[in-house]
Assembly symmetry: D2
Homo-oligomer: 381 residues x 4
């Protein structure tokens, strides 16, 4: 049961069979706070793997499905059918399941990016969910308590008007041509869409920037590169941003930056103060008011803005929480939404609209890069 005594939400999963990475992460996130129970799955497009994976996870045989369509139909018809579903397939397989479950009245938790094309994203937004089914896009980095804190600091005016934003997400795992379950679909335009690094990690950096600053992007100028021989999608992303209200930004994402594991970092500078946060040590954040010493804010420590319950701080400062806890916070707060108790987290959970903005970001970047870096408005892709 959940810590608050509420019954667990019955959960299904599409994708996430044996060997998948992100499906495993979603399952831990669903379990951590006790709000969900996985009871059904269409875990692979290959029925043998689907079956084996389902059994490994202890699913009842009659709730292991060979396709998401069948699962949506069957579960919607059951009295004890799933109430929510997690979609953890490659990008091009987000749209179909999301549509099917929303139309079946089942809440959808969908990995990012929203879809593989902007068209699909818009089509998804146009769908009328049955029975008020809700949608969560797992831009999981927004679940970190100090990311919430950063957003609060900006909203409170502590930084003053924002001037400069530096976002980056360097990795090095695609430094060489590699082939693996994880690498293959991410470098395949058919499954990933038109963006490589920009879709896989650039959207995370963009979403983080958007979430914390609250600023929309007016236009961008991009230089996407594919460094590895034969790779079809970009593995390095250099972008200049012009944000609404006059702020300027830089965004760098790379899968070939040797020595970087998951260096997601956001730096925001306003007229009055600045802040800096890194994902690989997420329990600390620098905050500096102009002319005063730098302050190291810690998750659960002494902070200038009172921690809101929506920050979901589970353990005291100095005891690190990590990636899985941030992910779990999205799950548990979406559980609040599902149970009709989502007021406290209104505006905090990534939505279809955020997903469309992310897809517009990708489309604009690809268009700009193909146009030799000309400035492209996000509103015009």
């Amino acid at each position: 049961m959940a810590e608050n005594g509420a019954a667990r939400i019955r959960l299904g999963m599409v994708g996430g069979g044996t060997g998948a990475f992100i499906g495993y992460v979603h399952r831990i996130a669903a379990r951590l706070d006790g709000d969900y129970e996985l009871v059904a799955g269409a875990l692979s497009s290959r029925s043998d793997i689907a079956r084996e994976s389902g059994r490994n996870l202890g699913l009842a045989d009659d709730r292991i499905y060979a396709s998401y369509e069948e699962m949506a139909r069957a579960e919607a018809a059951r009295k004890d059918g799933i109430q929510a579903v997690s979609i953890v397939t490659p990008n091009h397989m987000h749209y179909g399941p999301a549509k099917a479950f929303l139309e079946a009245g089942i809440h959808v938790i969908c990995d990012k990016p929203l879809t593989s094309t902007l068209e699909d994203a818009r089509a998804l937004a146009a769908i009328k969910p049955k029975k008020g089914a809700k949608f969560l896009l797992t831009h999981n980095y927004t679940g970190y308590p100090l990311v919430r804190q950063a957003r609060e600091l900006v909203r409170s005016g502590a930084l003053g008007k924002i001037r400069v934003v530096q976002a980056e997400y360097p990795q090095d795992w695609l430094t060489n041509a590699v082939s693996s379950k994880q690498a293959d679909w991410r470098t395949d335009p058919k499954r990933s869409g038109a963006g490589g690094a920009i879709g896989d990690i650039g959207t995370h950096a963009y979403n983080l920037l958007r979430f914390v600053t609250g600023l929309k992007t007016d236009s961008l100028s991009a230089d996407l590169t594919s460094f590895v021989e034969g790779r079809k999608l970009d593995d390095n992303v250099h972008i200049l941003l012009r944000l609404q209200g006059g702020a300027k930004g830089m965004l760098w994402a790379s899968q070939v930056a040797v020595g970087c594991e998951n260096g997601l970092q956001l730096r925001v500078y306003g007229e009055k103060a600045g802040l800096e946060w890194r994902q690989d040590n997420p329990n600390q954040m620098w905050f500096t008011e102009f002319g005063k010493p730098k302050q190291l804010l810690t998750r659960g420590g002494s902070i200038t803005v009172d921690p809101a319950p929506s920050m979901n701080i589970r353990i005291p400062g100095g005891h690190p929480e990590g990636y899985l806890e941030a992910f779990a916070t999205l799950y548990s707060q979406f559980a609040q939404v599902i149970r009709g108790e989502g007021k406290a987290v209104a505006g905090l959970l990534p939505s279809i609209e955020d997903g469309i903005e992310g897809m517009s970001f990708i489309a604009a970047a690809v268009k700009s890069s193909q146009g030799d870096g000309k400035w492209v408005k996000l509103s015009e892709v």
Copy 2:
């Protein structure tokens, strides 16, 4: 269900009612990998709180108990009774429940330190558990992947013979006289035993040193201080250690070190190499071979000793895991032991023997400090 399809282990809890900190941590740890289901509890010595707490956690009314004795009796008699119990009460209330459940043939997961007196600890070790019931002491910091890595490095000989060990655990939350559920029992000799900081956090630092180096302590010289007016137990611990084989150590634990949240840190120096690890950024560890550049080992990153499955690395390097994951690793690996699959983790899980050693460490330190710092052998307390 667990990720491997095994049925969940039915779990009870003693202590951990509303407002308790460590019980909540144990529940998350039990859930995270899907190996346990909480179904019964004697969550408070006050029956009204016990009932309310149980209901909040969704326990069935007939499995909410007013006392651990009743719970041990009743659950042992049920067909669907608990298979394991978590004991998360103040120190002086470890011995009673541990004895009761072991003698009822129910596996015991017990918070540290083992008991409040060395006598109780030894008495517990003398008990004959029914039906082979197992015991886990939650020295949770040993669950961190890089702590396991550190131990492996020492065992592999990479450091050569150990010469110097520096362990410390500074905090600042008891800087002033405070009263709270958490503070009160920790500063009360009746509930904590003879040690304050030394029992609460000093034992963690000692256990970490012991776990990583594998070295027993021959003798120690201690200077325990209580800085806050009226406090009955030590809030600062200064200890010199002489380890078996000739290594020397220092151990510092403090609850009045302003600016320190949970600064648990271990530094080990051998004839050939040295390593340094801090709990507040646990996904990194320094490793230096003499005459070569310092290396920053990362959890799940490129490391010199291959990561063993027993390190339980859930997500790739650069995505931080934290305190709860380390705690959960003890739970999930104890689940392996319970299921008879514990071979892979043999020697890694803290036991009653480790608990006795921790109690000897406390007793020796108190005795040495009372004797103006004379060297006291751990084997003679």
Copy 3:
């Protein structure tokens, strides 16, 4: 005397009167290794300040000059006249003195950027120095031992072909409109030239990138901004770079990034390895070979490439050297050049050609920014 027993080089200074910052730095740099003795100066364009400043520095009255022209003439005529001169005036006052002293056969040490316009820079390069007078441009960050080490690593092939370069230099001292001796000329186009932050600090970042990677820039796309009301020159610089050979770069410089003191940082990623260095902790550098742990190289510590004498490591690793030592290394190695012993440092000391490249960088960035970020070739400005 110098440590090697050579007689001190007689030095003059243009600019650097009371209240000036960089003149003081040059004087310390000249003294530190014992290679120079300041004996003459035209320290201010205001003759009273020139006189007072000269006396404060202990100059003989007849070697305190009211103008650099007079000083060049008089000193060239003296038997014990200066052998070298340091030019530490605002940018627009570099060209005149540099020309005068080179034509008087006196070696020139000139602060950066080379001049205030590209035309001046080219004119300076066209001058025929008398008696083989040499020229040093004080891009002082190239004097740091680990910057030299980084360059060596790149040249040795340890990084493989360079792919991505991230250079940045954020400060915050011009966050508000301020007026001071230091701020005024830097924000005045007449004295600084067409660039604000880009000339003052952007050129440092650019030069560092150039020095370490050895790569010329093919073209750039810039977005220069002036955030502070009424400021005439840029205070924030966002640039995308296309380097020769296919590498891509980003360069950020800012004077309004609250919380940043002098955050000069260079990150270079190649096909085989990556490195990262920050000026504010210059005695460390990260070096990572793909698939291996990160290494922390230290100045004077254990490093993969043997330290060359040209790194000028004065004290052992762990004892920090800083900004002044790096600056002094340029001075002492230029002394070697002056004495005809400059072979060991050939190619390491910033030259007029580096200065022209820096001016081209500024001109191209201004042109690109005025052209809405169109790509501008450095060879075409």
Copy 4:
């Protein structure tokens, strides 16, 4: 000349011939601010080396001496004789020259520790210097601006009453048995005195603690170890301290801590605040008021206590100063004392009394360690 126009102080040097480390450091320190000119030396006890070393440093032949006695006599008799002398010999050769020059009316700058025995130290204190000759002991770490800042913070009451002090100075260069000019005398009781690591670096850590906290040590309990086969002096130092007023301390010094270069670190915790400083990144210091976020104070940055001129901050925050600058500050401030302008630095420069205290610290530690760690009062050795 000095920056303030004062004539340079004529300086001699005892020790510091070719191959010596600390003599070179003293010479840079003497030059950096322009306050001294080296004109005479007895640079080695071997006359051939003395002559060659002197010539390499450009000394006139008649001011290169074969012995310090001769130098003291001859220079005292010259009209242009040295005004001050730097003594940079091994420990056992401090007393003789110091006595000779003080009695010749020449100011003495002496490397630490003061002497090789406590007796010599006391004898030195009993000497009546001629013509008011002054004495400086180069405990150079006290010259760091942030160490001065730390002292100011303690004195201002910002930390409240001090409770706990943790000082450490780990190195690794004597991990193995080595032979070199630097290593040999440091591990030879005849030249070093009764202390190895404790004299070479332990005294630095002790002096730093003493300088910052202002607290005298009442008594200590020590465990000194020599880990390397055949080494006659300690290479690892573990000490518990009881400070006057009730504060407790730990001091660790080691020459066998693999991976540590010069890890001098001081942490001070009071009733109201704590601070932490490391020598290897000396331009930053942590300062935390209880219940507030940690602050990162920077040299020359925004600090809570106004920087005093005595901090001698040469360049702005973000531009690192290092070891040589701190050393040079002692030299330039001693020049102020010599010139009769030392009021501003009264109490800041290490004196003979500090040297005696350091020798008492060594003697007490050796005595305690020989007595199996019994507490020894500093006042009773």
